[in-house]
């Protein structure tokens, strides 16, 4: 009888990092090894001590599988294999194997050179880690050992992304990683056969969203570029993800042709070299249909798109430039940014997530004055646009995948429990995944023995019946600020500051003077001994840990001078 145990390392209900341990048929497999991009300390790494405190990880794990090259899925891999210690096989697709080390090295450079981090993996560690990689092809059954076999399926999302089936005897688990069910210009949609796994583990970060159509997102991009170019401005588009740059180039080219536009479009030279390498990878990886459309446009034989020369950045008049790297942290894109930032007619379009510490991250947080090398301050007057081109499955996509694979059970990771109940019911109703009295299931509950009967109930119900209070963990932190004004004024300053910085969050100033950020409470009090100092009490529940920590460190930096 199958007992499959799934342990998300570093919280299954915590968005930001993927690392899941699966025990199936006596085998232990680690799925993904991601870095949590929101933390700067050890909390960004998964807690590997769960697997074993004393023994060697290599003895406990049969293999590691990496679904794709995004850092929240592979960012902790070198740390895991070289600093904690793992010598077993690491499975991933060929494109992932080729692109992973590039991203890891980029990230390492930012962490060490820009942020001066000490306990970080080295370039050599990245190389040593990649030596342990065994690359796999789609739909190829790979025997890890006599009993354990794995198979990769196409996941869409980014180049090389795969969903993996893990099989031991008659038991199997399918892990989706990130996937996408709607095809775009250069990637197809995820697909899996009716493999009927005992368990399907699927990402559910976007499970509760209904996505805007791809056409409308493209339209938005075109509109922004067109508006900037019409007013004579220059548009900078920092890119890393080679595939995304391709897609955007094709889009602009089509549009320029149709509208008979004259403004020049360039891509930077750094892109050319990587792109050719990528192109070769891509062609062997992709399917027939996409290969045909792609081959028609041989990379750099666009009619309207030309190779960039750094001298062009000073040319007058409108233009569009695709330049690397994607987070504006160094190199050509940063150089161009510095030249163009001071003109409000210009525009920079950030196409993806930017790691903390990069210029990209700063401008996306709303910062308009940047301190550059040599303490020079750069004033950013150009328009900053943030466009999300990433492709994830939404509720509809998850239903489609469940319909394709026909699993016995579905596990949703990376979502909040309270916000998953509707989707859970939807899946159960659609696919009738309700418990079967004949099949054994692992469940968690509380056994109540009362009078002469036994009952197994959920923990929440047990607490209710026993009249016990559920304890909510709440953290409070004190931040000292030098501010001789009254508490109410300090609170107001805190409110104004947070409101301008935390645009994605609900920041409120309550009638009693306290400030709330989502469900985190901040109160200002006078210091008992020093009237010139105010103490900010920041309080949050366990679920808000991430935001609470971030807020505390933000407040510790002090308030901007001259804020109301």
């Amino acid at each position: 009888m199958p007992e499959i145990r799934v342990t998300p390392l570093g919280a299954g209900q915590d968005v930001g990092r993927s690392c899941i341990l699966v025990s199936i048929g006596g085998k232990n497999v680690m799925l993904d090894c991601g870095m949590h991009m929101g933390f700067n300390d050890d909390r960004r790494f998964p807690d590997f001590s769960y697997i074993t405190r004393n023994g060697r990880l290599t003895d406990f794990l049969d293999c590691v599988i990496i679904s794709h090259f995004h850092l929240d899925h592979c960012g902790a891999l070198p740390y895991f294999s070289e600093m904690v210690g793992y010598d077993g096989p690491i499975y991933m697709t060929h494109p992932t194997q080729a692109i992973c080390p590039i991203l890891l090295e980029d990230y390492r450079k930012i962490a060490v050179d820009k942020k001066g981090e000490a306990n970080f993996f080295t370039s050599q560690m990245i190389k040593d880690c990649m030596k342990k990689v065994v690359a796999v092809h789609l739909h190829q059954t790979v025997q890890v050992d006599d009993e354990l076999e794995i198979k990769a399926y196409y996941a869409g999302h980014v180049l090389g992304a795969a969903m993996f089936q893990i099989k031991v005897g008659s038991e199997s688990v399918v892990y989706t990683g990130d996937y996408n069910m709607t095809p775009d210009r250069h990637l197809g949609a995820a697909w899996i056969d009716k493999c009927r796994p005992n368990l399907l583990i699927t990402e559910s970060t976007y499970a509760t969203t209904i996505r805007d159509s791809k056409r409308c997102r493209e339209r938005d991009f075109l509109k922004k570029v067109h508006e900037a170019v019409e007013r004579g401005g220059k548009v900078l588009i920092p890119v890393f993800a080679l595939g995304r740059a391709q897609e955007l180039c094709i889009l602009l080219e089509t549009f320029w042709e149709r509208m008979n536009l004259k403004a020049p479009i360039y891509f930077s030279t750094g892109l050319t070299e990587k792109a050719n390498h990528y192109y070769k990878l891509f062609i062997t990886w992709t399917n027939q249909k996409i290969r045909k459309t792609f081959v028609q446009r041989n990379m750099f034989e666009f009619k309207h798109i030309k190779a960039f020369d750094r001298a062009f950045a000073d040319n007058p008049g409108p233009m569009v430039v695709f330049a690397t790297p994607g987070m504006l942290h160094a190199g050509q894109s940063l150089q161009i940014f510095r030249k163009w930032a001071g003109n409000e007619k210009n525009m920079v379009i950030m196409p993806g997530y930017c790691v903390q510490g990069t210029v990209g991250h700063k401008i996306l947080s709303g910062q308009r004055k940047l301190e550059m090398e040599g303490r020079q301050v750069l004033e950013v007057k150009m328009q900053v646009e943030y466009m999300s081109f990433s492709a994830h499955a939404d509720a509809k996509g998850i239903m489609q995948l469940v319909g394709q694979a026909e699993p016995e059970n579905v596990l949703l990771v990376h979502g909040e429990a309270k916000k998953m109940e509707f989707l859970k019911q939807k899946i159960e109703q659609e696919f009738r995944l309700l418990p079967d009295a004949k099949k054994p299931r692992l469940l968690h509950g509380t056994l109540i023995m009362k009078d002469s009967n036994f009952r197994l109930v959920s923990s929440e119900q047990a607490l209710k019946e026993l009249g016990l209070a559920e304890h909510q963990l709440r953290f409070t932190c004190r931040v000292h600020l030098h501010d001789p004004r009254k508490e109410q004024e300090t609170a107001l300053r805190v409110y104004s500051h947070l409101k301008s910085v935390l645009k994605d969050h609900c920041v409120q100033h309550l009638p009693d003077g306290s400030v709330t950020v989502e469900s985190i409470l901040i109160q200002a009090a006078a210091h008992s001994e020093d009237p010139g100092t105010k103490v900010l009490l920041v309080s949050w529940t366990y679920q808000d840990e991430e935001l609470g920590s971030y807020l505390t460190s933000l407040l510790k930096k002090g308030l901007p001078q001259g804020a109301t």
Binding site: T208, I210, D212, R215, K419, F422, K503
Partner: protein, 372 residues
């Protein structure tokens, strides 16, 4: 599809902003909850329907720095299941209660949107006068300390029921069997009704049934089906009631004199509407004399009524939203029909529209004239 690509390029000029979504099931309902959320609900008869409470993408709610909000998606805040089709849904203001109506028309269902979970639960029902055939009760909410639900499929079955006690606090008390097409609460004591025949009336619930109404069989006579909406404009006198007929006739009336429309025009639509129950006319909350019309085909038309007169002349729309036709993915034969539309409460030219192919659009047309 070539035409879809063409239209999309055209759309750059026609719209400021444009979002297109695919719901899992088509909706006939777009009900605002606050100004950041809308409810939609399915109307299929053979399978379970979903009732969803959606939150708008953040960029549609913020006033500045829109560029820094990449999220263009709706979030499903809460969801629930209904075994029966939902034709109308109303939110009881300042509460977490929803009321739905549909077929079979023997009761209204009451739902709770919980705080601690994302599942909308059915918590009760309100019995109504049962009708035969495909008649279902229209509804409107009297919101006050003790909210009441105004409902009825015909004039004779019009009642107000207290939501909490389920007691009937008002009855029309008439034997008139005219079929209702819409109900709208205007203030704590007044509501407006529109019958399918075009008969309109304003009723004060503090008095015995004595509505001020148009007595003649409707502004358009000669059959067809009508619906109406009263605008919530605070400024001055002038027409604030719009009445739309399934043959494309649109009348504007002053509440003080329902018998004589202030203006009457003919909309350039493919009449008659394939499903007159889906006809909808709405007033723009933020633009003077602006109306939106849908239910004839796959378009939503916006009109500027400033210079209309009473001659029944043809008018041209200020703007026509054709997105539902051009972005339709399946066969060209099955042209979608717009099932409902609504205006954004404070973004002047932003509308939401839904169609029979389960599409949901949010669009903001580019301003061309200073007037509207």
């Amino acid at each position: 599809m070539e035409s879809a690509e063409d239209w999309l390029v055209e759309s750059l000029r026609l719209y400021q902003d444009f979002h297109a979504f695919d719901l899992s099931g088509a909706t006939r309902v777009l009900e605002w909850i606050g100004d950041k959320g809308v409810c939609v609900a399915g109307y299929e008869s053979l399978k379970k329907n979903e009732i969803l409470h959606l939150t708008l993408p953040l960029r549609l709610s913020v006033k500045e720095n829109q560029g820094l909000f990449p999220e263009r998606d709706f979030k499903v805040c809460h969801g629930g299941f209904s075994d029966t089709p939902v034709f109308d849904l109303k939110h009881v203001p300042d509460t977490r209660v929803l009321v739905t109506s549909g077929l079979p028309g023997r009761n209204l269902r009451v739902w709770q949107v919980p705080e601690d979970s994302d599942v909308i639960r059915a918590v009760g029902s309100i019995a109504v006068q049962e009708e035969e055939g495909s008649l279902w009760p229209r509804m409107a909410i009297f919101s006050s300390m003790a909210p009441g639900v105004l409902h009825g499929a015909r004039l004779r079955s019009l009642k107000v029921v207290d939501l909490e006690s389920q007691k009937t606090t008002y009855s029309s008390g008439v034997s008139d069997s005219e079929e209702l097409s819409s109900l709208q609460v205007l203030d704590a004591d007044t509501f407006a009704f529109c019958c399918a025949s075009g008969r309109l009336g304003l009723v004060d619930i503090r008095q015995k049934w004595a509505p001020s109404e148009n007595v003649s069989p409707g502004p358009g006579a000669a059959g067809g089906r009508w619906c109406a909406e009263v605008g919530h404009r605070c400024q001055g006198p002038g027409p604030s009631i719009a009445s739309l007929g399934s043959d494309g006739q649109l009348c504007l009336l002053d509440p003080r004199d329902l018998c004589h429309p202030v203006s009457s025009v003919r909309c350039p639509v493919s009449a008659p509407s394939p499903d007159p129950e889906l006809l909808r006319v709405t007033w723009a909350p933020g633009l003077d004399s602006c109306l939106a019309v849908s239910g004839f085909d796959g378009t939503v038309q916006v009109y500027d009524a400033t210079s209309w007169d009473g001659t029944g002349s043809r008018v041209e729309p200020l703007f026509t939203h054709r997105g539902h036709i051009f972005l339709e993915d399946s066969q060209p034969d099955a042209a979608p029909l717009v099932t409902t539309h609504t205006w954004h409460p404070h973004k002047l030219r932003t509308l939401l529209s839904a169609a029979s192919d389960a599409s949901l659009h949010v669009w903001d047309w580019a301003e061309r004239r200073a007037a509207c």
